[in-house]
Symmetry: C2
Subunit: 280 residues, 2 copies
């Protein structure tokens, strides 16, 4: 019997996608499934003819498809479904849609936990740095932050919310802007570890000590979080488990099982390291 072959398509192979890839590949090894990995930029993916793509997958004997990409709609996955090729999407930036099976993390709860941690350390002036404004996961993290601030009766000062691209440069720029405010924050919840790295770098450049002068929490718990100086307190996304769950879901769909829900979220978890401290 030849092993089943699954396609894993990412729009890039950044730290985030790579963690998911590790989960998919690890589980695939366990269950004897083979995984073809490819990268397709989001723009190319949007323009790609789904019928042709689905035909090609069928011809090459592919049994399923896992997508780690910005945006997927039910219409886009129809071509695969009609050929019996299960598609599972990892944490799409857009809202989850009926008919698209997706796996994500508890972004709202994670954002709330990150902010609660800072409040628990005595911080009151806490700012947020998010990803794209229209991104579902960034919105959920922002609203987790807002829920914590509201519950704790803390004001969100003007200019305390920034959007960007989940990248280093977003965090680097944002801290520069925050320091120019009349009441700069004493703590920052950054929407991704890469963003937090940018905050760390800007702080180092200006001689601001972390965590003595400024506390920072990231999001993702990718590789960089455990390697930075100081090591980053962050919200762990179970990226590895999300990859496993995506592949497990593909296999269940292939076996004709029905799913309890089109969308599942795996629990996030706060990992406290050295970038946060009690307000002096």
């Amino acid at each position: 019997v030849q092993p089943a072959i699954i396609d894993l398509v990412c729009d890039n192979l950044g730290a985030y996608s790579v963690e998911i890839l590790r989960g998919v590949i690890g589980f695939a090894t366990d269950i004897g499934v083979e995984v073809v990995v490819s990268t397709v930029p989001s723009a190319t993916l949007r323009a790609r003819n789904r019928e042709d793509w689905a035909d090609r997958l069928t011809e090459t004997g592919r049994r399923g498809l896992i997508l780690v990409v910005e945006e997927v709609t039910a219409v886009q996955t129809q071509a695969f479904r009609s050929r019996g090729i299960p598609v599972v999407v990892i944490d799409p930036l857009g809202p989850t849609q009926h008919g698209v099976v997706s796996v994500g993390a508890t972004n709202w709860a994670g954002g709330k936990a990150a902010t609660d941690h800072l409040v628990g350390l005595g911080h009151e002036r806490i700012a947020f740095i998010g990803g794209p404004e229209n991104s579902e996961c960034s919105q959920a993290r922002l609203h987790g932050y807002l829920a914590s601030m509201m519950t704790n009766d803390l004001p969100v000062h003007d200019g305390y919310i920034t959007h960007g691209h989940f990248e280093e440069s977003t965090g680097f720029r944002a801290l520069g802007q925050y320091l120019a405010l009349p009441h700069p924050p004493t703590a920052i919840f950054a929407g991704s570890d890469e963003t937090a790295m940018g905050v760390l770098n800007q702080a180092a450049m200006r001689g601001i000590r972390v965590p003595e002068d400024l506390s920072i929490v990231g999001f993702d718990n990718t590789y960089v979080a455990g390697q930075s100086t100081p090591k980053l307190t962050t919200v762990s996304q179970p990226l590895h488990d999300m990859g496993r769950t995506a592949l497990r879901t593909v296999m269940r769909l292939l076996a004709g099982e029905s799913l309890d829900s089109d969308h599942v979220e795996l629990a996030t978890r706060l990992v406290v390291r050295n970038s946060t401290a009690r307000l002096a």
Copy 2:
């Protein structure tokens, strides 16, 4: 026409393997080749029956194999060669062997460049932290270091050479040992970026400032090097290009072309960031 499928087998998906994977996948996308990615621990790989493995690759229509693993011998690759499946090995830990096609980096030149850089900054007490003692690439880096020290008439003090596992813990422990020496080094050439991260973490724990009190050079230029605080001066291994070259070589062998050499080394390059400074 169905695209050719190549297998990429890594013994793990660490930062090093992932950079190579990015190179392989990126080039595969460009030339319309598909890549099946899998991980097999070194011990499992050594025990695996090569004839069965080669049979399975043939049956599933695989056209080539790229290995990112610790150890490969000509005997082990014979089963693939006899079935017309080209095998290319990335920077094997063991010595290059006749009949095994491999791609590496100029480890000796890179080690020399790293040490020359520290000497140029006025350092004279320079220590080295390597990987496994029997590893070919670690030996080449060590001897690059020794060549620089010798050329510059600098003594290598007792205890200034440590071996380990190219891991964070190796660097963390090594700096502890160096600080207990009668004449601790003022600069360290770490054999990998992960090792250098361990040195950075030990230094931060002890309040030793980098680069003011201690200069550190890494090796690899993986993702972490640009993200640490301070950012790491390191020797860039062209891991991405090594991945590309490995796939290109597989395709050339498939096309029946002959190679100029069984082993090629791509040039390393010193990337100066913020972890090295002139001796005060």
